[in-house]
């Protein structure tokens, strides 16, 4: 073996022991005939191997042809017997790469996989883009028209809304007391409210007349967005149920607030009929407001009824002899049957329709309940709420083009979305039909879980933006039932006192003569607490801290709690963030101290009122 060969063996088996630094240099210096040099050069060039590998291949091919020439073969014959240069280069490249180090092969495989993945993703993206932009929703049900049909059949003379609307237009804004509650008759600055409410007599008379009408009679109108971005788009949501406009709700609340003031005024002036008429009007207004039981309408109904119950308790307490026995009984009967057959409740039925309506407007329909989110659907969703979970670039056309296919892929398909909604809806309905003390709040938890995951928030959009507001609503009727039951006990106790000359010693004394049954404390399901004190009866529930404090008010005030804190037990916090250690006292009603400390701006506004009334 020559020294060169020995060197080769020593330096690395199989590596060419050549002085040339590159394959081209080696080829040039080999002195092969032109045809063979060209052939080798062509093969080497096409192999696109690493320089060192090329050098090795070059050395071997040159050696091969030199052997052939030495064996008297001519260059053309050798070139011909070599075979196809292109194929040789391809095979040599493939075979040589197999000899490369493991790390390189792993890297190459990863790179290849990555590139394939990118290509697949891109292909999927392109397919998805086409799908998303070509797909169109198929709107089959006009839910708004469906809901309006029975309303349209109500005779004009039976409709209350036109009269409420007229009353609302006549009502002047009531004086604002900033963060303070309104003063009651005899309290400081009551005179401002008094002179205001006297001026509203005509409007309030109209409102009471409206409340006597058998039906609300307000047809739903839509128009969610001022300038819908997709005016010719079948997926627009401004014509859907979620786009229904409810300006009447603020009118109804305005009227109820002013009826409340008017009741204080009437009671202070011994006008029992007007006071009772106002409370009864408010009860009817609640019914009217939720003629179509959209959740927000139901909530306003509860709020108006809450005013009515508060008024009843307050008038009873401050003017115990104002109402006649008959009026007390009438009020008790009306409060006992609040909500008719459904009772004090919220209905999620329209919200269910609302989601179905949205789904039919944003998804395609494959005829078997499934479909995918369309481009117009995503854009439509962008218009219905704070799009916190969706990138704001969707506002831009380019951003829409780029992200819509991705969003359509991420957001659940029609079938999955519908199924998820049905599942949440069933949980909400179950909670809504369960007393507070048995409520599991599963709907709340399910919605919270969905909302806490950014991916799920996007995946179940729009459920994730609509459901949180809906889920907790099941608690509100329960709280109002407790207040109503407190009012019923207070009415019964007052009737008992009038009839017998003394307060009943216990609830049992009022059942069944004055109360059909013992009312339950919504917090623990036990009987509502009743304690007779020298000042009269105290009617209370244990409240969110879940223990009986003997009818003591929470140290921090009324103990009003946030809905999230309704069942937190000892950890329950009030709206002021402080612990609620005490009971929920329903009667006698608690009135926050009237501080009447105003900001400069509030003071200036009140001054204007005073000037105007003087």
């Amino acid at each position: 073996m020559s020294s060169a060969a020995e060197q080769a063996d020593a330096s690395g088996r199989g590596k060419a022991p050549v002085a040339a630094r590159t394959a081209d240099e080696l080829l040039t210096s080999a002195g092969l005939p032109e045809a063979l040099e060209h052939l080798v050069g062509s093969v080497l060039k096409r192999t696109r191997l690493w320089p060192r590998e090329r050098l090795d291949v070059a050395a071997e091919l040159i050696s091969h042809f030199q052997e052939g020439l030495e064996a008297d073969a001519d260059a053309d014959t050798l070139a011909e017997s070599f075979g196809d240069a292109r194929r040789a280069a391809r095979l040599i490249r493939r075979a040589t790469k197999r000899k490369r180090p493991a790390w390189w092969r792993a890297y190459a495989m990863s790179l290849r996989s990555f590139i394939i993945l990118i290509c697949l993703l891109f292909a999927a993206y392109v397919v998805q883009t086409v799908r998303v932009f070509v797909g169109k929703p198929d709107i089959r049900t006009d839910y708004v028209a469906q809901l309006n049909e029975p309303i349209a059949a109500i005779p004009q003379q039976d409709r209350a809304w036109p009269i409420y609307e007229q009353a609302g237009a006549m009502l002047e804004d009531e004086p604002q007391y900033g963060m303070n509650r309104e003063p009651r008759p005899g309290e400081k600055r009551w005179e401002i409210l008094e002179s205001h409410i006297i001026a509203q007599a005509e409007a309030l008379e109209l409102a009471r007349a409206a409340a006597r009408k058998p039906a609300y009679g307000r047809e739903l109108t839509t128009g969610f967005m001022d300038e819908p971005p997709m005016s010719n788009d079948p997926g627009r949501l401004d014509e859907s149920l979620i786009g229904v406009l409810l300006p009447d709700l603020s009118v109804m609340r305005d009227i109820a607030r002013q009826l409340r003031i008017d009741t204080w005024h009437a009671a202070a002036n011994g006008d029992a009929d007007r006071a009772v008429a106002n409370v009864r009007a408010m009860i009817r207004m609640g019914d009217h407001t939720s003629e179509v039981r959209i959740l927000i309408s139901d909530l306003v109904r509860l709020s108006i009824w809450n005013y009515a119950i508060d008024l009843t308790l307050e008038v009873l307490h401050r003017h115990p002899e104002l109402w006649t026995d008959r009026q007390l009984v009438t009020l008790a009967h009306e409060l006992a049957v609040l909500g008719g057959e459904d009772g004090i409740s919220v209905s999620f039925d329209i919200e269910k329709m609302m989601i179905h309506d949205i789904i039919q407007r944003i998804y395609t329909d494959d005829g078997s309940g499934d479909g995918y989110l369309t481009a117009s659907g995503v854009r439509a969703l962008a218009g219905i709420a704070d799009f916190g979970v969706v990138p704001s670039v969707l506002d831009e056309e380019v951003g829409q083009m780029a992200l819509l296919p991705v969003m359509s892929a991420v957001v659940a398909g029609r079938k999955e979305m519908t199924a998820r909604h049905e599942e949440l809806w069933a949980l909400m309905k179950r909670d809504a039909s369960t007393p507070l003390w048995e409520m599991t709040f599963e709907a709340d938890r399910a919605v919270d879980e969905m909302y806490q995951s950014r991916l799920n928030k996007l995946r179940y959009y729009p459920l994730s933006i609509l459901m949180p507001a809906v889920g907790r609503a099941a608690v509100l009727p329960e709280l109002l039932k407790q207040r109503r039951d407190g009012a019923l006990v207070a009415l019964a106790a007052n009737i008992h006192r009038r009839r017998t000359g003394s307060w009943p010693a216990s609830l049992d004394e009022m059942v069944p003569g004055l109360l059909p049954e013992l009312p339950r404390d919504r917090y623990d399901g036990s009987v509502l607490r009743y304690a007779l004190t020298p000042d009269g009866p105290v009617i209370y529930g244990i409240g969110p801290d879940m223990d009986d404090d003997g009818g003591r008010l929470p140290r921090t005030g009324s103990g009003r709690v946030l809905l999230d804190d309704v069942r937190r037990g000892p950890d329950a916090r009030g709206v002021d963030g402080k612990p609620v250690d005490g009971d929920w006292v329903l009667y006698p009603p608690y009135l926050e101290p009237l501080e009447l400390e105003f900001t400069d701006e509030e003071m200036a506004e009140l001054q204007d009122w005073e000037d105007a009334t003087n």
């Binding site: 073996m1 020559s2 060169a4 060969a5 080769a8 063996d9 088996r13 199989g14 590596k15 060419a16 022991p17 050549v18 093969v43 291949v57 050395a59 071997e60 091919l61 050696s63 091969h64 030199q66 052997e67 052939g68 030495e70 064996a71 017997s81 070599f82 075979g83 196809d84 240069a85 194929r87 040789a88 095979l91 040599i92 493939r94 075979a95 040589t96 197999r98 000899k99």
Partner: protein, 124 residues
């Protein structure tokens, strides 16, 4: 007679491994031996042979070394490895089974090849 590429793809590596059992050989020598000892049946162009050698080397069935001939020319010699020898033994048995099967079907007349050259010994 030229052998179809698909057949050659299976036969070529076995033939090369068999040739190398007689001792190490360089590329040109292998081309020449394949053509000569198989009566041209297994003759293959260098465009096929060298990639095949690189593949066998990548699989560890053969190994190479550079050496300088008496003429002073550098040559890359290939020799069979232990692994290659095992593979050759396995492949040989398969080829023999195949040949017997083809013979029993009458595809091979007069039984398997009985040549006495290097390749015949491998394939028979």
């Amino acid at each position: 007679m030229r052998v179809e590429r698909e057949l050659m793809r299976g036969a070529g590596p076995v033939a090369v491994l068999k040739l190398l059992t007689a001792g190490e050989k360089y590329g040109y020598e292998l081309v020449d031996a394949l053509a000569r000892e198989s009566d041209g049946v297994l003759a293959m162009g260098q465009s096929t042979l060298y990639p095949m050698l690189y593949n066998l080397e990548a699989k560890g069935l053969i190994e190479s070394r550079w050496s300088r001939a008496d003429s002073g020319r550098r040559r890359k010699y290939y020799r069979i490895t232990d692994r290659g020898a095992k593979r050759l033994a396995t492949d040989s048995r398969q080829w023999q089974a195949l040949a017997r099967a083809m013979a029993s079907l009458g595809v091979l007349e007069g039984g398997a090849a009985t040549g006495t050259n290097t390749l015949g010994g491998a394939i028979a």
